[in-house]
């Protein structure tokens, strides 16, 4: 298949899958087979594009004009490739986990759950492969709308109000700020296409650029930059697989991915570096980064604590975008991958604890490590990756971000990163540690295998990514500002090239 066909197939597979899941809803085993088959086919399709992108090509489809200057079109560049691989790859693991969790937890309306899930993945892939701002916006909204039923899934008062906040904040920011930003870009630049080096050079002055960037940053509510983060903790009423894949990977990563994409392909990092239009964002992101970590410390509900941790970790990506140096952008791209693997592991563990012990509050989890040793070991691995300790993947994103900060002349950011890592230690590790009362005998009760295996896989991935980060780096190194060829030479060395 040609690359162009593969792009279209990748978009259609989850949609067709959603249809098949709906049709086979009467037979749960068949339905779950459909979900897993769809996720496998999707992953294979996405991987089919990888070789071309690794070799430096940018496969694209022909654009279809919708109306004056607004086109529907797709192209696969390195950032999108990474996001698509992460989302589709983790969907496989998450689907297995979903089966264990949804059955173990006796959740109602499972068919519509799996249907919405598949549509949401289609949305994420569309965001990843979008070739211009309109296409990205279209799939961004599909992602919002298809995940709303998942958040309100339980349909009790709390879930409904959580869903309300979710929908209003995400639609509110995107329709209220992102849409005007896109229209403004269209008027000023005369195009909505993503171009290497950006499309705004010489079109807007420094202040206007800063304002436009602000419209984008706060309009992309999914990136959860404070104060637009509030929907994320509210979304934690969703079933755990949703929190795991969508609110640690697909949805939030779609947000920060959009931020990166806008910074790299609409503004262009050279333009931002020249004009300093993103200076303010360094401070906002740093604040968001620290503040969310501090709030996470105060949360006793495990999922809420993880949600605030996500807010903080997303700010790393935005911070990298704001620093607007090549190393920082690489750090941001790395962070998308590393945080996704780490955080999905943590959510899987939280869900496993819920299924096995029905506990949600950290203070009730005394002795949990002895009761669920495998789960909590995976939790430890995930936590260490989030904190950024070797030999785990999270190390590299922090490493590159630090280099990026020094390049940009913001040495103080390194201190912020280190403080944040310490805060991560403070709010993550005590969960693993709580001691059982002396002399108490605790029987080992792990969650069902369908829950346990996925969380082991993702924990193992955290380790693999430490050694395999070279591949990600190769991809991200192509994110040149203007001249792709020179980048490799200018990049600081210091990473193992694969295992």
């Amino acid at each position: 298949m040609s690359a162009e066909t593969l792009i279209v197939v990748a978009l259609l597979v989850p949609i067709v899958g959603a249809g098949l899941i709906a049709l086979t809803g009467r037979n749960p085993n068949l339905r779950e087979t459909m979900t897993i088959a769809t996720s496998l086919v999707l992953f294979a399709t996405v991987m089919g594009l990888l070789a071309a992108v690794l070799s430096g090509a940018t496969p694209r489809t022909a654009s279809v004009e919708i109306f004056a200057g607004v086109e529907l079109g797709f192209s696969v560049e390195p950032l999108g490739m990474i996001f698509a691989v992460v989302a589709s790859g983790l969907w496989i693991v998450n689907s297995i986990y979903s089966i264990g969790y949804m059955r173990g937890h006796n959740e109602p309306r499972q068919t519509s759950f799996y249907v919405c899930f598949a549509i949401a993945i289609a949305g994420a892939i569309g965001v990843a492969f979008a070739g211009n701002l309109f296409t990205l916006f279209l799939f961004y909204e599909i992602l919002t709308l298809s995940t709303y039923p998942l958040v309100a899934h339980k349909a009790d008062a709390k879930a409904i109000s959580g869903g309300r906040i979710y929908l209003l904040m995400l639609l509110g920011t995107s329709m209220g700020l992102l849409l005007p930003a896109i229209v403004w870009t269209g008027i000023v630049a005369g195009t909505l296409d993503f171009m290497p080096g950006g499309i705004l050079a010489g079109k807007l002055g420094g202040t206007a650029l800063g304002l436009l960037l602000a419209l984008y940053i706060f309009g992309i509510g999914k990136a959860a930059v404070m104060p637009m983060h509030y929907w994320l903790p509210a979304a934690m009423v969703a079933p755990t697989p949703v929190s795991a894949l969508l609110h640690a990977v697909a949805v939030v990563k779609a947000g920060v991915f959009t931020v990166l994409k806008v910074v790299v392909y609409v503004f262009g990092i050279d333009l931002l570096a020249e004009t300093g239009a993103s200076e303010w964002l360094v401070f906002v992101a740093a604040f968001s980064l620290l503040m969310a970590s501090i709030v996470a410390l105060t949360r006793d509900n495990l999922k809420a604590r993880l949600a605030y941790s996500t807010v903080s970790q997303l700010a790393y990506v935005v911070l990298g975008a704001a620093l607007a140096t090549q190393a920082a952008i690489i750090g941001s791209g790395m962070q998308i991958v590393m945080h996704a693997t780490g955080k999905i592991t943590l959510f899987f563990c939280a869900g496993a604890i819920m299924v096995a012990t029905h506990k949600t509050e950290i203070s009730d989890m005394a002795g949990i490590g002895r009761r669920m040793p495998v789960t909590m070991f995976a939790f430890l691995v995930g936590s260490l990756s989030i904190i950024g300790l070797p030999p785990l993947g999270g190390t590299w994103s922090k490493w590159w971000l630090g280099i990026g900060a020094v390049d940009a002349g913001h040495e103080w950011v390194v201190a912020v990163l280190m403080t944040s890592s310490l805060l991560n230690v403070a709010y993550l590790l005590p969960i693993v540690a709580p001691k059982a009362k002396p002399g108490e005998r605790i029987a080992v009760t792990e969650a069902p295998k369908a829950c346990l295996i996925p969380l082991c896989i993702t924990a193992a991935l955290c380790i693999v990514l430490f050694f395999g980060a070279g591949q990600v780096e190769t991809l991200l190194a192509q994110l040149a500002t203007t001249a792709p060829a020179d980048i490799a030479a200018t990049l600081p060395k210091g990473m193992p090239d694969g295992l």
Binding site: L72, A152, M175
Partner: protein, 493 residues
């Protein structure tokens, strides 16, 4: 023979159909006649569009009397666009109608219903096609009188009161209009619109011209339901039979907007109206008020049809906003929204019509949990609701994009902000229904509900599909709207 008389057939066929249905007196047969006529109408309208695209403006002298003395039917791009909209909506609504009508209207009145519907259709198409100011008044009255009857046919007793309310307002509107036309006639000595437009520049005394403009604008605004003279609309929409609401919401106000466009742009002229007079300021103020106030009021409605009616007032605000901006982008946005809003509102009212058909419920509280029992119907409602918000991938986005772009082109940040704020209020009122319909537990009445009969579902979904398809393929809507805007901005003048 037929192709040269298409403009006359466009109006005469529904009139003949109305007479026939009145004669047969049987609901079923009357429906069939209405169906045949209704599907012929869009064919004629498309044929006319083709002629216009090929040969330019089509002028037709009614009865062989040459204009300006005789009545001229005049089809240009703008009127062809409205003809297609009205006739297509009519055809879809009538196809959907029979069982809904049978369930809501007494058997002995059903034939009359179709008579009145065809008369209304005749009047609306007439307004869009005529090139004569007084003839437009006649058609305005034909459509209005039949509309009063159609509304009064609602089974709720308040329908009669609403019809009466509309009758009073409508009559005032028509009177104002005809007064304005009278003034124009005195000054120019002509009733032919093109003729008036040609002579209006020679008038030295501007005062009677201003009076004429005021009378005509206010008169038409009453029919448009422009804020703050919209008060007849919510009751009329809420208590009319479901089919009538779907038809009126997608056609009646739209034709009135067309007439307003004609007078403001083609007759009085862009320069006079928008440069010399503060029409932009006035119209933008009213549009913005409609977009915000009517949307907020919609949030607090308990009756779904009433809520959608207030939403219509708000959406008409978008259209008049586009008109008020009087730029290529803005006017395109306004005109394309005429079409887009018609499609989405018809789909919404049809979906609610299905719910009423199965459960009789129109209160939001009473339809709790209906999404799980009528998923296809409420699925259509959700998609059409998203279009109302302006989500990308639906027609609503196309309109909104043009309007926001038009505001930003002028550098009016506050206006772009108001447009998006209004969309956000739409999120609240649409979301409220969706939340109740899908996430509440159904009561006993709802549990017994199932999907409506096939034809109701099919035609609701044809419109719903159109919402998505026309959100991507905008050749027919935004394409023609853009060219229509060009026509209007250069004007006949």
């Amino acid at each position: 023979m037929i192709s040269s008389n298409l403009p006359a057939l466009q109006v005469v066929l529904p009139l003949l159909g109305a007479v026939l249905t009145a004669l047969v007196r049987r609901g079923q047969i009357a429906w069939f006649i209405a169906l045949v006529v209704s599907w012929t109408m869009p064919m004629i309208a498309f044929a006319l569009l083709k002629q216009v695209l090929a040969e330019g403006v089509v002028s037709y002298a009614l009865g062989g009397w040459a204009p300006p003395l005789g009545i001229e039917y005049r089809v240009d791009l703008v009127s062809a666009y409205i003809l297609i909209l009205v006739s297509l909506m009519g055809a879809l609504v009538v196809s959907y109608a029979p069982r809904s009508v049978a369930s809501e209207i007494a058997p002995e009145r059903q034939a009359w219903f179709y008579t009145m519907y065809l008369l209304c259709m005749c009047g609306l198409l007439g307004i869009a096609i005529t090139g004569d100011a007084f003839n437009a008044f006649v058609f305005l009255e034909v459509s209005s009188l039949s509309t009063y009857v159609l509304i009064a046919l609602g089974r709720d007793r308040r329908a009669i009161l609403s019809a009466y309310q509309y009758l009073i307002v409508g009559t005032i509107g028509a009177t104002f209009y005809v007064l304005g036309v009278g003034l124009l006639y005195v000054m120019t000595g002509s009733l032919n619109l093109a003729d008036i437009a040609g002579r209006i520049g020679d008038i030295d005394n501007i005062r009677p011209l201003l009076a004429a403009l005021a009378f005509i604008t206010v008169g038409i605004s009453l029919k448009v339901a422009l804020f703050p003279v919209h008060l007849w609309l919510p009751n009329a929409y809420a208590f009319a039979p479901s089919v009538v609401t779907a038809f009126l919401a997608s056609t009646a106000t739209k034709v009135a907007i067309y007439l307003l466009l004609r007078y403001l742009f083609s007759i009085f002229g862009v320069v006079f109206v928008f440069r010399d007079l503060p029409v932009t300021e006035i119209l933008i103020t009213l549009s913005v008020a409609a977009m915000i106030i009517a949307s907020v009021v919609a949030v607090f409605q308990a009756n779904v049809k009433r809520m959608l009616a207030y939403s219509s007032v708000a959406q008409i605000g978008y259209i008049t906003l586009g008109i008020a901006l009087a730029t290529q982008t803005g006017l395109t946005g306004g005109i394309v929204h005429i079409f887009n809003h018609a499609v989405m509102k018809a789909a919404l009212f049809m979906a609610i019509g299905c719910v009423v058909f199965r459960t009789g419920a129109v209160k939001i509280e009473d339809i709790a949990g209906i999404g799980r029992h009528m998923p296809l119907t409420m699925g259509a409602f959700v998609i059409a609701g998203l279009a109302l918000i302006g989500v990308p991938g639906t027609v609503g986005f196309v309109s909104k994009y043009y309007l926001v772009a038009a505001a930003l082109e002028k550098g009016w940040w506050w206006l772009a902000a108001i447009i998006v704020i209004s969309s956000l209020i739409a999120v609240v009122y649409v979301g409220r229904v969706i939340e109740v319909a899908w996430f509440r537990d159904p009561g006993a009445a709802i549990r017994a509900a199932r999907e409506p009969p096939l034809e109701m579902l099919v035609f609701t979904w044809i419109l719903t599909a159109a919402i998505v398809v026309l959100g991507f393929d905008t050749e027919l809507t935004a394409g023609i709207a853009g060219r229509a805007a060009e026509v209007l901005l250069t004007g006949m003048k």
